[in-house]
Amino acid sequence: MARIALDGLRHSYLPQPQRPEDWALKQLDLEWADGGAYALLGPSGCGKTTLLNIISGLVRPSEGRVLFDGVDLTDVPTDKRRIAQVFQFPVVYDTMTVYDNLAFPLRNRGIAEPEIKAKVHEIARMLDLDSALARRAAGLTADGKQKISLGRGLVRSDVNVIMFDEPLTVIDPHLKWQLRSKLKELHQRTRRTMIYVTHDQTEALTFADKVVVMHDGTVVQVGSPVDLFERPQHTFVGHFIGSPGMNVLPCEVHDGTALFAGHRLPVQNPPKQPLNGQRLEIGVRPEFVTLAPEGLPVRIAKVSDGGRYRVVEALHDSQRIKLLVDEDASLPADTAHLRFDPGHTRLYADGWLVS
């Protein structure tokens, strides 16, 4: 197990990167403590897989260093880094049984058979694979195979970090949910350092203690799930995290108060100095918008039933504002007024939170 530090990382797949968009990964500094559960979250092409491959040693960064416990491993090959990885598509050794699959990394490292046996059985029990040990791995379902991939990492006691590259992509929703809980449980039990890469905010937020949100090769925000939800540093984070994402409304600021379409909206972070020439926006999550007797007048355009909540799409002129209401709350038929929770309504300038 180890503390992982990424120091001044930059990477480009081109031999001579020049323009900013040539870089798959722009300047990046991060430090991860031992035993934590981390997630790299972002849309496809944001650089998260590149970063994962740099940590695992499959890609050498153009610039910067990768340190495990303060030791520079930038030029150390994958097999010497003591990492484990679960891939998007399950990787199992088809010709072997489940037992042999789990024993494989230990046998390769010359560990004695009795010790292997004990370890394999312990991990198989943890993964609910003990009844399948004698079966051929090729015959298992996708979620069973993903458990084997994970198990091959867990059996080793020398593993610094276990990495997951969108591991639930090929799993059915109802099994996805079970496997997600299983991963969380395994982390709580083993306290191994785990890094989870995904585009799915629910997976990232439920799994990780700390989430790194990436966009266009840069880290936009690093924080706990609560930070990301309640205090997004950038409108991208607000939009990307949460379903539906944060409402972003264009606004003006006069005398320190924010105005949306002529309506005063108190914000949690009124600007201390004038914000001239910047694109100004108000960000508020659908969870913090409520129907009220008075406030911003809107027309209700659409209501979708999400089961435990309903998503209401309201229109003020052509500006769409979404809010969540309880599954059995009564709704006005046509027009309504909205209240924005001042504690969770924030001002953004050029996309970034005004501080």
Partner: protein
């Protein structure tokens, strides 16, 4: 235009893939087929399209028996989970291809391609080839191809499953709008209960080649005919427990009991099955009529805005899904509140009482 399956059966060799099915789909709004992988969704779509003939029964469309009419002779469009486009054609040519096959005049084709491209926000991408597009754009192109020819029947086989989380959300919002003013029957297969709910319309829940229930989506969700339907249509999975009716009380365990609801008063005493969705089990008392249940916390999945808590009560393993972040100690015992008015009761063989 109505689509109707009359006593349709599909056998392949000795296996029955679709058991006798009788359903008349809705003419407006989405018809959703909800079920896990291999439940029979794709086979049903293939039967509707005419890609495979039924072993028995008839398929009626628009008042005509179309059983055995090959797919080329029906006006059907299909969109698949994989983004299927012609790789060597531009987006424009891809969208135009069904019209060229139909032998439309050049000017007419151009007109319709541009209109549908505008609708799906593909206008700036018309000159590109599929390989230069993101997954979301590729699937939009496939959708445009399906929409451009004004099909009478549009079949969508998990079209959003391979998309990034946010793109899925975006396209899920757009889809019903695209079909709003068209005269065609739409069937949409998915394995995601939340997707089914948000799309609305009508839903058929499918399990092992049988439609367990068909009706308006919110009705199937809130008033499932049987336990199987409730299980298919719950995410996270519905909590299930044996429950005993003893006089005026419903008894889960010595410590957990509540008054029997009016609908059950006349039933004979004895064992029944309780189903309660995770979001109706909360660590907080929220004003609804609730019974208390104590449980030992096994896993706590806290995202930034909600908490999923797995707990054990005796031999029962239950899940609570509630808004807000509730830091809860794993391993400790906590009290939860079950909204008794939301409880669903089933007979031992799975039929819902009061359905």
């Amino acid at each position: 235009m109505t689509l109707e399956l009359r006593n349709v059966i599909k056998r392949v060799g000795a296996d029955t893939h679709i058991h006798e099915t009788r359903v008349r789909f809705a003419e407006t709004g989405f018809n959703i087929l909800l079920g896990t992988t291999l439940a029979g969704k794709t086979t049903l779509l293939e039967l509707m399209a005419g890609l495979t003939p039924p072993s028995a029964g008839e398929i009626w469309f628009d008042g005509k028996n179309v059983t055995g009419v090959p797919v080329q002779k029906r006006n059907v469009s299909m969109v698949y989970q994989q983004f299927i486009n012609y790789p060597n054609l531009t987006v424009y040519e891809n969208i135009a291809s069904p019209l060229r096959v139909a032998g439309l005049a050049r000017a007419g084709i151009d007109n319709r391609v541009r209109r549908i491209a505008e609708l799906l926000r593909l206008t700036p991408l018309l000159a590109r080839r599929p390989a230069e597009l993101s997954g979301g754009q590729q699937q939009r192109t496939a959708l445009a191809r399906a929409l451009v020819k004004d099909a009478d029947l549009v079949l969508l086989d998990e079209p959003l499953a391979n998309l990034d989380f946010k793109l899925r959300e975006e396209l899920r919002d757009e889809l019903p709008k695209l079909f709003a003013d068209r005269r065609c029957t739409v069937v949409f297969a998915t394995s995601d209960p939340v997707e089914a709910l948000l799309l609305g319309g009508h839903t058929a829940t499918i399990h092992a080649g049988r439609i367990t229930q068909f009706g308006p989506t919110p009705e199937v969700y809130r008033q499932p005919a049987d336990l199987l339907t409730a299980q298919i249509f719950s995410h996270p999975p519905i909590n299930i427990a044996p429950i005993v009716k003893a006089g005026d009380a419903m008894v889960v365990s010595d410590a957990v009991r509540w008054p029997a609801p009016a609908a059950l008063r006349r039933l004979s005493d004895g064992p029944y099955v309780l189903g309660i969705r995770p979001h109706h089990v909360s660590p907080l008392r929220n004003g609804h009529q609730a019974a208390q249940i104590e449980g030992r916390v096994q896993i706590a999945e806290l995202s930034g805005s909600e908490s999923v808590i797995h707990f054990a009560h005796g031999k029962l393993s239950w899940v609570s899904h509630s808004p807000g972040v509730h830091p809860i100690e794993v391993g400790g015992t906590t009290r939860f509140y079950v909204e008794t008015e939301r409880c669903l009761y089933f007979t031992a063989d799975g039929a819902r009482i009061g359905a």
